[in-house]
Symmetry: C2
Subunit: 510 residues, 2 copies
C-alpha cells in the first residue's frame, strides 16, 4: 500500500537543496521535495487516507484475517459507486453492450431472444451504434462519434425545448475528464481564479491546485437547505478581484454534491445574470440531474435560452454568455461509473477557444467508445411502446424509489442522533449532516493530530467498517463539522452500526 | 468544424491588453489570447489539420456530395487505429467482454456454445474477471483491480524471467494516460527537462508543452535504421544542463514510433547505464513490444534486472534506478484502441513519490474497467490445450503476418518512388520514409505558407483521399523531410494512389 507522504511539504530553495546534497549522494532522480509541487498541494479526500484504510480492512477480511476486527464487513459509503454495492445495471444497456462487444451475437438474435430475454430493439440499437462507431475497439473522433453526439443533441432538445448543436457537444471519459479539460484551458496563470461552491465535490479544488490557480470559494447556505446565494457569490468575486485575482468562471453543481440541493429556476437565473454581468464562464456540473427527490430539475442551458428570449436581454447581455454543462453516465439510475462516459455542451464559446479545447482532447485520442455508447443509451433509452420499455421503466423506477427510500431511512436515523442535524434529502446520492462534538472530543482529535471530523470518521471506520468522508474533504464554513455518506448501501443494518457507534462516541467524550 | 486558430499567438502584455480593451467592450470571458498559453503551444499533428480535413472529406462522401472529389474513398493511414480499418478483434476477448457486459449470459452457456462458438474457457475467464471487478460498471480501485494487476505481474515475470510486484503496477486508460500522469508529476518547474527521441510520437512534446517543461531532443540515427546513440543522448543532456535545464528523465520508445526501430540488449544497457550515471528516470514506452518483424523484443525491465545482477553493478549503481515501463491494448495484434486500456510498472521509485502518483490518478477515479479486463486478457491469453487456443493462435498469427506483409508491400512501393528512401520495416505499425523534394516544390510549399512535408501531405490528401502525417509532426533533423504512414489499410489499391500521386507531384515540380 502506498504510504501517505508528508502532505504540503514545501520544495527546498535551490541554494539549500544544493547545500544539502553537495556532500550527500543523491539516491534517485525524484523525491517528495522535487516533484511537481502542485501535485503535492492537490487534495482529494474521497479516495484518501480513509478509503485506503478501508481497502486494507477489506483485503484483510477477504483473506480471512479479520478475527480481531470489531466488524465482519466493510461498508463503502464514501464513494458514489452504485454497482459496487447492490445496484444492478439497466438490462437494456448491458444487453446492447454485449452485442457491441461481440457483434457476432447479431447472428444469434433468435437464440438470445429465446434464452436470455433480449428483445428486438436491443439488436436495432446495437446495429445503430455499430454504424456510429464501427467497432468499440477503434478510436472514434476525438470529440466523440458524430451519431452519438446527435443523440445527445436530440436529448438536450427534448429536455429543454431548445435545439442543441452536435458540434458543440464533446463526449468525455466521465464528467471528471471534461472538468479537467476545461480547467486546463481556462486557467492561464497563477492569477486565474474560479468561483467554487463550498462545500463542493473536491475534483474542483484538486484540479485548481494542479493548475496552480485560485479557488475562489462561495459558501452555500446550510440553513436554507444549502441554497446558493448570489450576493455571497458576488462578494466573493469582488473580494478576489481586489486581491488581483482574474476570476474567469463560476462552478455550480446542480443538484449539489455533497449537499443534494436543487436550484430553482429563479436561482439559476440569478447565477446566469451575475455571470453575464461579470463576464464569467458558467460551468454547470449537472451529473445528478436525474437524482432529484424534491422539486424538478431545470438545466442551466434552458435557463440561459429562456433569458436570451426574455425582456432581460434587451441589451443583448446574454447573447455571448459562455456556458458549459456537464453530464455523466456514472450517476442517476444508470450508475455506470466504471465505463467512464459523459459529455459536456459548450455554448457561447469563442470558436478559437473551442479549437484549442479540441486540440487538447485530441492528445488523449478519444473517450472510451463503449462509454460513449452508454451515453447514447442513457440519453435515448427505450420509449413507451418499444419491446424493452416495460423492463427499462420497471428497473429505472425501482432504483429511483430504492434510492429515495434509503435516503429517507438514513435521514431519519440522523435525526435520532445526538448532535447530528441534517437537511432533508433533496437529491444526489449523499447526505451531508452537521455534527457537533463536545470539547473533550475536539481535544481528543487534536491529540491524535487530526481535524475533528477526520477523527470522527476514522474512529467510525475502525469501529464499524463503515467508510464515509469527513466534511473537510469538501470544504465547510469555519468552525463547522460535517461528513458525507452515500445512501447506496443496501439494507439498514449498517445504519444501525453508525447509530450505535455515534452513541458510544458521544458517551465516551461526554 | 472547429477553425484552426492562429497557432502560437503570444498573450498580450497586461498593459497592452488593458489599453486595447479599455474602450472596446470585452465580449466574452475567454479568447485565444487569454487562455492557458501552454495549451496553445502544445502541438499534436496526428489529429491536426490534415486529420480534420480528411474527416470533412469522409463526411462529404458519406452524404453523397463527393462528385467533384478526385477520389471516392478516404484512406486513414495517419492513425494507428487497426479496427477502424479491416482488422478484426480477437474473438476470445470479445466473447469474454460480451459476458462481462451482460453477466446474465453466464446462464446461457450451453446456448452460446452451440450457436455462437463460445468455448468453456470463455465463461471461466468471465467469471474470474467478474470476481476481480464485481461489475464493469463499478469504479475499481484507482490503481486498477488487484486481480488484474496480479495477472500483469505474472505476465511480466513470464516475459522477463524476473518477478514483478502487483503493487508497482498501475492500470491506465491506455499508455497515453500513463504518460500524462508521469509527466504531470515529474515536471516540477519551467526548468525541468526530459530527454525525448526525435522523431517521436508527439504525445511527449505535447505533454511537455502543457507542463511548460523542456523537451531535450536526442536524435535517432536514420542511417543506421533509426538507432539510438547514447553518446548523442549524453551530449544533448550535457548541453541542456549547461543551459540550466534540470533534466530528470529519458524517454525511449521501443519499438520506435514513428520509426519502428527495435533496440538490441546492448543498446538498452547503454541507455540504462547512462540513466544510472546521470540519475535519470528511464521511461520505456513499449506499446509496440509485439509488433516486431526483425529481431526480438527485450524489455527495459529485463535489461535493468540483468544489469543489477551483473558485475557492472558492483557499486550498486543500478540498485536505485527509477524505471517505468508502459504497455497498451491499443497496439500489437490486440488493437483495442477504443477501449482505452494499458498499464505501467514502476520500479525503483521513492515510495513518497508513488503515493503522490496514486493521489493524482485517484482524482480521475479509475481507468475504464472493461479496458482493464482486456489488459488482463492481453497478458493472459488462451494457452495451448485450452479450448479457445486454436482460434486465438490462428487469429493472432493471421494479423501478425498480415501486418508484416503489408509493411513489406508498402516498403517495396516506396523503394520504387523517386526521391523516397525508407528503412526496412523492423516493427510498429508505421513506415517513416525520407522524401527529397525539388527546389521548385520547396518554393511552392513556401508560397502556400506551409512546411514542405506539410504541403506534400496536404496535396496527397486533396488528390487521393489518403491521410498521412508529415514528419514535422514527429520532429526530424533540420533540413530533412519525412512522412509517417501506417500499413494498416487493406489491399494495395491505395498504395497505387500514392505512387501515382508521387510521380505526378515530382513531374509537376521538376
Amino acid at each position: 500500500m502506498p504510504l501517505s507522504g508528508p502532505s504540503g511539504s514545501l520544495p527546498l530553495p535551490a541554494f539549500l537543496e544544493k547545500r544539502l546534497f553537495s556532500t550527500t549522494p543523491r539516491v534517485r532522480s525524484l523525491n517528495i521535495n522535487n516533484i511537481n509541487p502542485h501535485v503535492k498541494e492537490a487534495k482529494y479526500a474521497v479516495r484518501g487516507e480513509l478509503a485506503i484504510k478501508s481497502e486494507q480492512y477489506k483485503a484483510q477480511l477477504a483473506k480471512g484475517e479479520g478475527k480481531d476486527l470489531p466488524f465482519d464487513s466493510v461498508v463503502a459509503a464514501s464513494i458514489g459507486n452504485p454497482q459496487q454495492l447492490d445496484q444492478k445495471p439497466i438490462t437494456f444497456f448491458r444487453q446492447v453492450a454485449s452485442i457491441l462487444e461481440n457483434p457476432a451475437l447479431l447472428d444469434a438474435q433468435e437464440v438470445l431472444e429465446k434464452s436470455s430475454g433480449y428483445k428486438s430493439d436491443v439488436f436495432e440499437r446495437a446495429r445503430k451504434l455499430l454504424k456510429d462507431v464501427k467497432s468499440v475497439g477503434a478510436y472514434s473522433q476525438s470529440q466523440g462519434a458524430a451519431g452519438i453526439r446527435q443523440s445527445v443533441a436530440d436529448f438536450i432538445e427534448r429536455r429543454d425545448g431548445y435545439r442543441a448543436d452536435p458540434q458543440s457537444i464533446y463526449l468525455s471519459a466521465g464528467a471528471s475528464s471534461g472538468v479537467n479539460t476545461l480547467m486546463s484551458v481556462i486557467c492561464a496563470s497563477p492569477q486565474t481564479g474560479i468561483l467554487v461552491p463550498i462545500p463542493q465535490y473536491p475534483l474542483y479544488t484538486a484540479t485548481l491546485a494542479l493548475q496552480n490557480a485560485h479557488c475562489v470559494p462561495y459558501y452555500l447556505h446550510e440553513e436554507s437547505n444549502w441554497s446558493t446565494n448570489v450576493d455571497g457569490m458576488r462578494d466573493a468575486l469582488k473580494k478576489a478581484q481586489k486581491q488581483g485575482i482574474d476570476v474567469r468562471a463560476v462552478v455550480v453543481i446542480n443538484p449539489g454534491n455533497p449537499t443534494g440541493a436543487s436550484l430553482k429556476p429563479e436561482a439559476i437565473n440569478s447565477v446566469l445574470e451575475l455571470a453575464a454581468e461579470e463576464k464569467l464562464v458558467c460551468i454547470a456540473d449537472e451529473v445528478y440531474q436525474t437524482n432529484i427527490f424534491e422539486g424538478e430539475f431545470q438545466s442551466f442551458k434552458k435557463g440561459l435560452r429562456d433569458l436570451q428570449k426574455s425582456a432581460k436581454n434587451n441589451d443583448g447581455k446574454f447573447d455571448n454568455m459562455e456556458l458549459v454543462s456537464l453530464h455523466s453516465i456514472s450517476k442517476g439510475m444508470v450508475g455506470e461509473c466504471g465505463h467512464r462516459g459523459g459529455f459536456y455542451e459548450m455554448v457561447g464559446f469563442d470558436p478559437e477557444v473551442v479549437a484549442q479545447i479540441y486540440k487538447f482532447v485530441s492528445i488523449m485520442l478519444c473517450p472510451p467508445v463503449l462509454g460513449q455508447c452508454i451515453v447514447e443509451m442513457m440519453v435515448n433509452p427505450p420509449r413507451e411502446g418499444e419491446p424493452s420499455y416495460p423492463l427499462y421503466r420497471k428497473e429505472y423506477d425501482y432504483i429511483f424509489h430504492s434510492l429515495r427510500d434509503r435516503a429517507q431511512a438514513l435521514y431519519k436515523a440522523f435525526q435520532e442522533m445526538e448532535g447530528v442535524s441534517c437537511q432533508s434529502p433533496a437529491g444526489s446520492m449523499y447526505l451531508f449532516p452537521t455534527i457537533t462534538l463536545s470539547q473533550k472530543a475536539l481535544e481528543a482529535a487534536k491529540e491524535a493530530g487530526k481535524a475533528p471530523d477526520d477523527y470522527y470518521c476514522m474512529r467510525l471506520l475502525d469501529a464499524t467498517g463503515i467508510c464515509i468522508v469527513p466534511g473537510s474533504g469538501f470544504g465547510q464554513k469555519e468552525g463547522t463539522l460535517h461528513f458525507r455518506t452515500t445512501f447506496l448501501a443496501p439494507g439498514t443494518e449498517w445504519v444501525g452500526r453508525i447509530t450505535k457507534f455515534h452513541k458510544d462516541f458521544m458517551d465516551e467524550y461526554r
